[in-house]
């Protein structure tokens, strides 16, 4: 990675592009961890093992409200 002395007009996207293309092994490792983690969380954990209980079992807000009301009234 060479040092750049230029202070010419700042380009946010150019900074991003250069940052990503010149990333070190550590940076790439961390990005892989982030991506794998998010894929695992959102495409495996959430839909298969942690779905929203009310969204999964009830069609609309009225049904959800009725369910929760029943739970509140009937719970021992």
């Amino acid at each position: 990675m060479t040092k750049t002395e230029s202070k010419s007009k700042f380009n946010f996207f150019k900074m991003f592009w250069e940052g990503f293309t010149n990333m070190t092994t550590l940076g790439k490792t961390l990005w892989i961890i982030v991506i794998i983690k998010l894929i695992f969380m959102f495409f495996i954990l959430k839909p298969l093992f942690s779905p929203n209980y009310l969204n999964k079992n009830f069609k609309n807000d009225q049904d959800k409200a009725n369910h929760v009301r029943k739970e509140l009234i009937d719970k021992p």
Binding site: M1, T2, K3, T4, E5, K7, F10, M15, F16, E18, G19, N22, M23, T24, L26, G27, T29, L30, W31, I33, V34, K37, L38, F40, M41, L45, K46, F49, S50, P51, N52, Y53, L54, N55, D61, K64, A65, V68, R69, E71, L72, I73, K75, P76
Partner: protein, 525 residues
């Protein structure tokens, strides 16, 4: 008394949330603390022009980035659980919980994520001051994230600013600022964030001590200890102050939690603060809350300090567990405390009114429905008591809270002393000649993390049996799931978090061993 019932959905859901929250709180404090430290070091660089400060800032920024990348979004797993395991709670709280979390995601996270890219990619591409601004904005973003989460948690401890709508079965926010500026929220925010600062400082001093022990990068290590020790000392002193504030708020709003923290069964005027003590084993059985045994086998008490902390009056009456259950004492607002039986009766009235309201509405008896709604609102403050079969159900796990609180406080005072000593040796330029203080600084690091964990145990186990103080007990908040599905998700979350923690530690250790030389490039990453 069962500590954990392996066939209980409630117990597994609680354990799962505790496990994931505990793991999450391993990453967050370091993010909060390192953010400030790296910002201060970069400020030193911009002010002095000395490259050594830039190298130091970049090294800690690298470790910040590792911790941030591995820990980011782990908080979402806690949010997943609200929808899966705690659906009754999730619906019941309405937008009160959702709004702060949404604000956190939109404002705080995007602030962090936007400026973090300039922080890592922008060296030598933007001016020094612009880069420094970005670094401080990352720190601000991380801190703002904590703010909104803690506002949401504070509402669970002290529900305020809402009205319950029996039609939708949801609590509706009627006063956003009452929630956002709740004294519990403000105090909790400062205490939690400053605890992160303390953890970050302990981390920096520990790692720097390691470099000095290894006789590597001495100048860098000494500069880091200079900042870390001062910042750490200030942080832990602030923790003592905000901790006092927490004690005051707990006394006012959650007297049972305070009684559990102190092992106080019989209330008294001029109550002392227990510095050290061993609880009588019989009190582990909650049904013995009013037996003849002294609560303690042994204790050292600081006279009158509990009254002072809780009520700002050396002679104030501090109710014990028995008093809170039996009622009949004067509350801070001048009213008389209700007994458990009275609260239970009101709670049962509220639950019955909710049921009757629904039937009346369905049958078109709107005038009657209005009457039931009024009865519900009148007794809503005690709604949760209607579910509790006996007064013992209102008592949290006293030994766990009592000992956790003492561990947290002792570590806090230990670190005030440790940072003072480190700074003293640094000032006298005798740090490297006194290697024992370096070893102590290094090996003390786990204590900083332990303090954070037991602090949350006090806050959250002390809140039991409530998901929302006085209004919704945990056993009603939980979803009607099969226990097997909760166990499965528990195992998966444990595996995920363990893998992330192992990755975090191993990558960090590798970079620490490399030391700060490699940071002398344009990009830290």
């Amino acid at each position: 008394m069962d500590f954990f019932n392996a066939s209980s959905v409630v117990d597994w859901s609680r354990l799962q949330f505790a496990m994931t929250a505990g793991y999450h709180w391993l990453f967050v404090p370091l993010t909060l603390g390192l953010a400030v430290i790296m910002s201060v070091m970069e400020t030193m660089y911009v002010r002095t022009g000395k490259e050594e400060w830039k190298h130091a800032a970049k090294f800690w920024m690298k470790l910040f980035g590792i911790n941030f990348a591995v820990g980011v979004a782990t908080g979402l797993i806690l949010e997943f659980q609200f929808g899966t395991n705690w659906s009754n709670y999730s619906w019941f709280v309405g937008d009160i919980f959702g709004a702060p979390l949404a604000i956190e995601a939109i404002i705080a996270f995007f602030l962090e994520a936007t400026f973090i890219s300039i922080m890592f990619f922008g060296w030598n591409k933007v001016s020094k001051k612009a880069h420094l601004t970005a670094t401080w904005l990352v720190t601000l973003g991380a801190t703002l994230s904590a703010l909104w989460i803690l506002i949401a948690n504070a509402w669970m401890q002290y529900p305020i600013g809402m009205e319950f709508n029996p039609e939708t079965v949801r609590n509706e926010m009627v006063d956003f600022w009452a929630i956002a500026l709740s004294p519990v929220a403000i105090n909790k925010f400062f205490h939690a964030v400053v605890s992160g600062w303390g953890t970050g400082a302990a981390f920096v001093v520990a790692i720097s001590a390691w470099f000095l022990i290894k006789k590597r990068h001495n100048d860098f290590a000494l500069k880091s200890i200079q900042i870390g020790a001062i910042f750490g000392f200030i942080s832990f002193v602030l923790l003592a102050i905000t901790g006092d504030g927490s004690g005051y708020e707990v006394a006012q709003k959650q007297p049972m939690k305070l009684a559990a923290m102190e092992g106080l069964y019989e209330g008294k005027e001029g109550a002392g603060l227990v510095a050290l003590g061993v609880l009588h084993p019989s009190k582990s059985d909650k049904s013995n809350y009013d037996d003849e045994n002294d609560a303690f086998l042994f204790k050292i008490e600081l006279p009158k300090l509990l009254s002072l902390m809780g009520y700002r009056n050396f002679n104030a009456f501090v109710p014990g567990i028995k008093d809170i259950i039996e009622g009949g004492y004067t509350l801070p607002d001048g009213t008389m405390a209700l007994s458990f039986e009275e609260k239970k009766m009101r709670g049962e009235k509220a639950i019955k009114a909710l049921a009757n309201y629904q039937v009346a509405k369905e049958e078109g008896r709107n005038d009657e429905a209005a009457g039931f709604e009024a009865e519900l609102q009148e007794n809503f403050a005690y709604f949760g008591y209607g579910y509790l079969a006996s007064p013992e159900r209102t008592i949290p796990n006293v030994p766990l809270i009592f000992y956790s609180f003492r561990i947290m406080v002792m570590i806090g005072f230990y670190y005030i002393l440790l940072f003072a000593m480190v700074w003293y040796f640094y000032y006298k330029k005798t740090l490297t000649a006194n290697r024992w203080i370096l070893y102590v600084s290094l090996w003390s690091l786990p204590l900083a993390y332990l303090a954070g964990q037991v602090g949350w145990i006090v806050a959250e186990v002390g809140r039991q049996p409530w998901a929302i103080q006085d209004i919704l007990p945990v056993k009603v908040a939980v979803s009607s799931l099969e226990v097997g599905s909760v166990i499965t998700s528990f195992i998966l979350f444990a595996v995920l978090f363990s893998a992330l923690l192992i990755a975090d530690i191993s990558i960090m250790l590798k970079q620490i061993k490399k030391g700060p030389e490699d940071t002398d490039t344009d990009s830290v990453y």
